[in-house]
Symmetry: none
Subunit: 191 residues, 4 copies
Amino acid sequence: MKEKIIETSIELFDQKGFKETSVQEIVEAMGVTKGAFYYYYKSKEELLKDICISYIEDLLQQQQHILQNVEKSCTEKLHEIVYMLIRNIKARRKSARIFFREMRHLHEAHLQEIKAKRRAFRENYQKLIEEGIAKGEFKQTHTPHMVTFGILGITNWSYYWFNPDGEISEEQLAEIYVDLILNGIKNQEKK
Amino acid sequence: MKEKIIETSIELFDQKGFKETSVQEIVEAMGVTKGAFYYYYKSKEELLKDICISYIEDLLQQQQHILQNVEKSCTEKLHEIVYMLIRNIKARRKSARIFFREMRHLHEAHLQEIKAKRRAFRENYQKLIEEGIAKGEFKQTHTPHMVTFGILGITNWSYYWFNPDGEISEEQLAEIYVDLILNGIKNQEKK
Amino acid sequence: MKEKIIETSIELFDQKGFKETSVQEIVEAMGVTKGAFYYYYKSKEELLKDICISYIEDLLQQQQHILQNVEKSCTEKLHEIVYMLIRNIKARRKSARIFFREMRHLHEAHLQEIKAKRRAFRENYQKLIEEGIAKGEFKQTHTPHMVTFGILGITNWSYYWFNPDGEISEEQLAEIYVDLILNGIKNQEKK
Amino acid sequence: MKEKIIETSIELFDQKGFKETSVQEIVEAMGVTKGAFYYYYKSKEELLKDICISYIEDLLQQQQHILQNVEKSCTEKLHEIVYMLIRNIKARRKSARIFFREMRHLHEAHLQEIKAKRRAFRENYQKLIEEGIAKGEFKQTHTPHMVTFGILGITNWSYYWFNPDGEISEEQLAEIYVDLILNGIKNQEKK
DNA sequence: GATGAATGAGCGTTCATTCAT
DNA sequence: AATGAATGAACGCTCATTCAT
């Protein structure tokens, strides 16, 4: 039941927004009554928290799994993270949009917890970049954190427009973005 | 007066969100009454529309000004657009966040108008990329629209985290991002 | 079990009020579930009735025990009733407060039953006063019922403020009140 | 309007209790809508606060007026306060009952304010008793505060049962109670 | 131009109670 | 003897909007 509430509300929160979706609408979509909702969740905000936490924790875990692999180069790991993020759009686009857009409706305590995890994801990303620099895979920069934000922007933004069922596949988009990140768009042959 | 309503509500919409900001709060912050608000705007949504339209039109205009310059190369124009976007954060960050986050509260008609302008901005951007490819400044790609989205993601995302009064200046961030976009992060010397 | 429900709910009803205490809270405080509650009581109101009935019946019984004693004078019996009421605060203050404050939540039928017993207590009290007058212990009055209400007010009111663990003991307060009732506060020596 | 809300709700709060009276009922009794209520009061609790404050402040003021009179003896002042309290039942019985019964629904801050005034009333009363003792009008006691509580109990309790339109008039009840307080019920002639 | 009073619809939440197991 | 899930009705409150003045 809790699972069904989450599924239903992810759909609605993404379509209409957290504030714009009433508990009434959620339960109507499920064919139960408000009482049932409040039997499982003590507030609408708690439901949002569960959605957000579940999203970011899943992401963190996938990231850690990729980073732990000692046999892969930093370039390969970067590729895998980009691909993982793009691939996730299919299963998690709604959660992701809810995460970024509705997070502000969480209470301070929940917000802290979630921001900490979001920060962890970014810092892991940045450490990968720094390690790649140290190993000579990536070029030197004095602002690895800014570069990390830039790379994150590329994939995060795609949650707002990318259609995994369109003409460009997830694998293709991942390739395009890894190439953009690694090589940029400049015509090197001009050199 | 209309101008003052806009200023006040941009502040509040950014801080608390569109739905979360009541007309009461807006007029209280201005020291007037609701009647005054409804004398100038026939609805809260119309005010949001004005904010969004004003934001995207200003952006479009700045972009057109850059693109019209026949003496600059595509690379230089790209640089200028990136810098313009980053520079805009200082003056327009709140409007930008409202634009992206609250747009969905607009009525269909307003939404169409705004999305058309947003599309125009993106298509201009894409044309610049394609022109750069044609001129040999940028390397060939079969998916210039995807690349454009990627480049847009880098700057758009920065509206959520970049602090123009922090240790990295706007010029510096623009440089970092132009370099990322043009050359990527790969250590070319390894070749 | 029924006893435990009563104990727990007396505590809660006194602290927070009848309406303000949910069945959920009662059962949580006991470590059982709602089903258990409704196995023993068919409604929350019935529980309140039990508490109220138990309070007033106990009082009536104690009063009757005092009044039955043929060897004591009316003055002595008055003293004993006052002392009994004050002494009861320690063990029964919560019940008493619930009795007076929450009685109105009872259904008509229960209310009648309880009011009848409350009336009996008062009438017994009044009869004692009248008997004392007849015997010359108390002075003549045409309004023994009003006097009775006044005397009752003194002790009943103490349920709202008297702290049996404070510097004045129950015995002392009973003495003070019996003296007040019998002799008043006027300085008789002035005569 | 505010006045009408107060009147209507005093009626209802006394009849049914604060918690048991819904805002809906109040506005229905007035023929307006909820919105109107919340235009004048920001919460139901604030309305209760106004009722309670108004009751106790009025009482305090009347008491002060009586106490200020330098030409009256303590006995006379006591008489006047008792009479004032009984007389108040007619106009203020409902407010008084709401005051005592519903006070606990007030927020801490409001509660403090109100309890301070209630304490002031009691302390003024006690000072009168003490002054009367000092002047030889009242007999010596080591517990003037307990005596004060006792005297207060007599009149306060009458708010729960006294019917000013019954066979005993307010003046008569005041006389009965002043006599009870001053002389007690003992038959002095027995001495 | 602007106010102040009022509406009406909706929202998040609570809770006594029921009932199959 | 007791549980756990669910109901349904009500409640306090918010708020965009209207409108006579």
